[in-house]
Amino acid sequence: MNDPSFTTFLFGQLSWGALPFVRAWRDPNISEIIGAGAGAIVVLGAFGAIALITYLRAWKFLWTEWFTSLDHKKIGIMYVVLAGIMLSRALIEAVLIRTQQAVAINAPGYVQPEHFAQLFTTHGSIMIFFMAMPFLTGLMNYVVPMQIGARDMAFPYLNSVGFWLTVAGAGLMMVSLAVGQFSTGGWSGYPPYTELNFSGGPGPDYWIWAVTLSSLGSSTVGINIACTIYKFRAPGMTFFRLPLFCWTSLCTAILMIFAMPPLTVATLLLAADRYAGMHFFTDDGGGNMMNYVNLFWLFGHPEVYIVVLPAFGVYSEVISAFSSKELYGYKSLIIATMAIAILSFTVWLHHFFTMGQSASVNAAFGIATMTIGIPTGVKIYDWILTMFRGEVRFTPSMVLSLAFMVTFVLGGFTGIILATPPLDYMMHNTLFLVAHFHNMLIPGTLYGLLAGYMFWFPKAFGFRLNEGWGWISAGCWISGFYLAFFPLYVLGASGMARRTQQVFDPAFRPWLLIALFGAFLLLTALITLFVQLYVSIRDRHANAVPVGDPWDARGLEWSVSAPPPEWNFATIPHVGDRDAFYWRKRAGGAYRPADHYRDIELPRNTACGVIIGIAAAALCFGLVWRIWWMAVLFGFLVVATVIIRSFMRDVTRTIPAAEVEEADRRWLAQAHAARPVPREQEQSGLNQGRAKIFPQPTAKHA
């Protein structure tokens, strides 16, 4: 049994030293203790969750109602929950990063360089791949089918597989806290540093496989969303009647289809270098790391718009709904979205102006980069003009949207600075860059996702989120952002390099302390977000909006109960105009029973998605630690599950017409009994989800 070759066969490169607890025991310094603490939180958190679920006897419920579900709404919610968990971890890491830099001025600080590098690597990787991507995917999953009048996605089973692959990737990220170390190569994982010669441990392998799983998951999402919008729009829902969120989702999906393959190729070729001794990006053997950099940013720049465009869609919905006005410049917004999507493929080189191309190549990409400012500017003006003379209500979603408009424009200005190659030579790899992209992604993605979460939450769960805590949270997100990142512009312009574990210029101290304070404000923002959720769940009966239209909103998703029935629509709606439900309400056509109800066919639950996800996670864990039997066994399990599923024929179930009718009539009775609320009472307990309709002089159908 103690034969070393047998142990190696069984456990690969896994050893006791891989556990942070053992490392902290052997070498108890604060850095290792933090590592062990983080590992302990993961382990305790996992056991705590398992114990709680067991105590509540909720396993069967979770399994049958959620994990195995193919309902796009439930998968969407699970995506958002995953994003929330990962956001919490990555935000705590951000606070640790800021704390380290603030205290490590001519001092060692409290985390060692190796550990600090892991912090910024996981922070970046999680925020992009396991926070932003799942969050926006969750919103698209939930909202898009409902907005286009469909009952599910085009590929419900693929949807489940994609979700569980993403969970598998996120799981690997979490496991890396408790077993081994993560990569120290930054979220972009540049070779040759991430090659075996320089990063020998399991770190880059964790990064490679976590990102690959997420990338594959996102590819399936792209295909699914695009097909759903192309093929499953309700009758009359022409492209120029689609809500803007669907347009931005479509563009995002197209970007995912074309931009995820370069990432998959980049990570897998890096894996080929590390596992098979190939020479794609190595120093020797003719390898060329520039190929990696090009591949990575061929993905990376479209990725920026993958995470930004859905937020633009959310803002369009939120601003239009809370201004009670049709979107200004609907078609120009679509053209701008499409233009951004296409231009996003032409600018990847601005991520590495300093890597030795000729000046004219840099100039071409610099100009292309600045060009993106034009369609983005169009959008900002359109949103401003949508509010103009509208009946604007300052709900938390709207506050976040307004903050976005101001902040994002400021970030755009610093983007113009960075897009100018000579200036970029000054700013490259400084905190100026860090400030810039946080300035784009926090308002451009996170605010949008949070605004969308607060906007659609009542639809998904049937009660409003507490506005008071919403405002507090929005206020913290906004002020926290300014305090945390504007000092970084100053620091970057003064020459402070990014990703430094120690700082040697005491003049930086005040700015670093302000940034640290901002980071704590952002953490407060996250905590208040959870408080808001808790308070809202506690007061759910007082804030219930079962009729489903709490904001006098516009799209088809508001035309059904909250939460919506499993089948979304009792009958597939016919669409005659843009903002279909808004005008239907005003024409008196809302809350009417169907002429006749029909049986509805829905996808049956399946465990295949979960099995594939778990097996893929185990496969990748085996690959990380070179436990070959594990990799082979679970790789085989993935393939076998795919094949077995293809033999299954009984994959749908039918909801009888009577059940649909009963549910629909129950909801209609509720709707008719509800007292319609005017807009000024929307945020009070009087709101039951039915809007009071005022005559509108400009109404199209008046």
Binding site: F155, N224, Y230, K231, F258, A272, M278, G285, G286, S646
Partner: protein
């Protein structure tokens, strides 16, 4: 989709939907369309591997170069095998399309035979390719020798992996045919497999032109 058609329009070669309802036809359309989109995404993977291959030609690190590793003879035979397999898959599709009607069950046999032939040709192709790589390895041209050999192996090898997937996929579908007859999901999967198989043919044509012909001309 026109709302008035009750019977199916033959939207995809080889797809005979018989008397599908409107929803069913729409579902099938989407199922096949989604696979086209996937292939497009997959094509991006190959495009990138071709680009890498292009940048790798000089990066031989003193090892074998393209002219040294390319053997046009076997590559030509492989091309013929793959093209023939595409033809036989096409014949299989035509037979299956006719076989969709119960009274034309007799078409099943030739369909299965054509698909079996496709499978044999695919296996022969893969066998020859593996042999090529083994020959290269014996001559010291292994993927870990240089960037060029890495790029060469991964480009050709990725195509080979795809062929392998097709070779696993085909008997799976034939088993389903034997088990449950030609029902709607199987028809859709047959169309997907045929798209996949023809797509691999196109990729191979590109590989033959860019890799093998270039090597022979150098």
């Amino acid at each position: 989709m026109t709302a008035t058609t009750v019977g199916p329009a033959l939207l995809h070669a080889g797809l005979n939907l018989d008397h599908a309802s409107r929803e069913e036809a729409a579902q099938v359309q989407s199922d096949v369309f989604g696979f086209w989109v996937f292939l497009m995404s997959d094509a991006v993977v190959f495009a990138l591997l071709f680009a890498l291959f292009g940048t790798s030609l000089e990066a031989t690190a003193g090892g074998p170069d393209l002219a040294g590793v390319v053997k046009l003879g076997p590559a030509f035979i492989e091309t013929m095998l793959l093209l023939a397999s595409s033809f036989s898959f096409g014949m299989g599709s035509v037979m299956l399309k006719r076989g969709a009607k119960p009274r034309l069950m007799k078409h099943f046999r030739p369909a299965v035979l054509w698909l079996a032939l496709t499978w044999v040709l695919g296996v022969a192709f893969l066998g020859m390719e593996v042999n090529d790589f083994a020959t290269m390895a014996r001559e010291g041209a292994t993927p870990d020798r240089s960037f060029f050999l890495s790029a060469f192996s991964v480009l050709v090898g990725t195509h080979g992996m795809h062929v392998l997937i097709g070779i696993i996929w085909m008997p799976v579908l034939l088993l389903q045919l034997a088990a449950g007859g030609l029902d709607r999901p199987l028809k859709v999967n047959m169309i997907r497999l045929s798209l996949f198989w023809h797509f691999l043919d196109i990729v191979w044509i590109a590989i033959f032109s860019v890799v093998y012909l270039q090597g022979a001309l150098r």
